[in-house]
Assembly symmetry: C2
Amino acid sequence: MTRPAKASSYHHGDLRRAILDAGEAELTEGGLAGFSLRRVAARVGVSHSAPAHHFGDTAGMIEALAERGFHRLLACMEARQAAGLQTPYERLLGSGMGYLDFALSHPGLFRLVFGRPAPPAPESGLRQAADAAFLHLAAAVAAVQGGAPLAHSGALAQVLACWTRVHGLAELALSGYIPNLADDPQSAPARAARDALFRELFEVHITPG
Amino acid sequence: MTRPAKASSYHHGDLRRAILDAGEAELTEGGLAGFSLRRVAARVGVSHSAPAHHFGDTAGMIEALAERGFHRLLACMEARQAAGLQTPYERLLGSGMGYLDFALSHPGLFRLVFGRPAPPAPESGLRQAADAAFLHLAAAVAAVQGGAPLAHSGALAQVLACWTRVHGLAELALSGYIPNLADDPQSAPARAARDALFRELFEVHITPG
DNA sequence: CTTGCAATCTTGACGCTGTCAAGTTATGAT
DNA sequence: ATCATAACTTGACAGCGTCAAGATTGCAAG
């Protein structure tokens, strides 16, 4: 049980969380390329090796940030799914729009989360966070089909189809390949345009003839 | 007119190309995260600042590698499209499979290419290489629909739908989120499994009811 | 042939980075 | 009150990108 917010010079009290907050801010400002443990430490106002003390090394801190990222992703999907209309299909689309919200409003964190190998350790917090996000999507797809999540073999393909579509759109939008989709991502009209394009691309069926 | 392959210690002769080759190899082995100009130089056997002399700085070298990447991507798509069956739809699927071939067999280069902002300068070689790859895809989609590339407004949506689907699958496969799709990507059975999954995900239509 | 110029590549230095070992300070249980 | 332990700092080291300056070579003009 760590006491929060002690004010003494030593024993910050909630330094781990403060460092993660600073790391997320650094990620937002400079992206993963220019990420530096020392700048994170300087932003919090602690010594240059305080981050390594809490996370082991750079990889450890990146992993902790990735776990946060999965939680934020899930929160974005749930928020938009709840705000969606009442049909399961509209709720599935809402989850996809939440996925896009997360990607466009936290580009650095999104790239950090998905630019690294999928978490393998079954009991790790990172893995659990990733699984929770995946299961959210699987449940949304299953609801459209009126069954339990991943009931039959074809169900996995349906989930993967949804996931790859929204993920591909998110990645290409982040890099600027989809015109006017990465500008001012928080604004209401930008979000509306994003939603409309996602719905259109999600439903398009390329006919073999 | 640069003379190729002079053997003197100074004036390597084709050092720019040699450095790019080494950079691509470093990318394959260590990914973009651990990329280092000094290791590239050491691999070629030249001084530590020779790369910067040719490319200005790290960003310049990354950009040159990205241009190479777009060319390789286009080559992969063309190779598989040509090997496809004769219907336009099968040729479109072939391009997508070539896209996946490139991503899975050059993970570092693929991530480098699409993990950076889309090239804005219209006359740059990088931009031209990117446009060529995009136009290849647009033409393949147009062929399915029996028209000229990007003839009507809905055509762009169709191209984006294809692009986001194959790109999302590539990204998620690279990170290991799609089971058994990133292992031994060069082997024939792996490629067959990849092709089958891509075809399935590409064609799946999520029904709103 | 040789002279001078420009391109090519090297050398050395600077500050910034991650990591590690050792030291300092506060916490909480005994 | 004491003391083990956790939290954090300090100092050092090698590797990194970048820049200025120097060394070497090819090439064209005279």
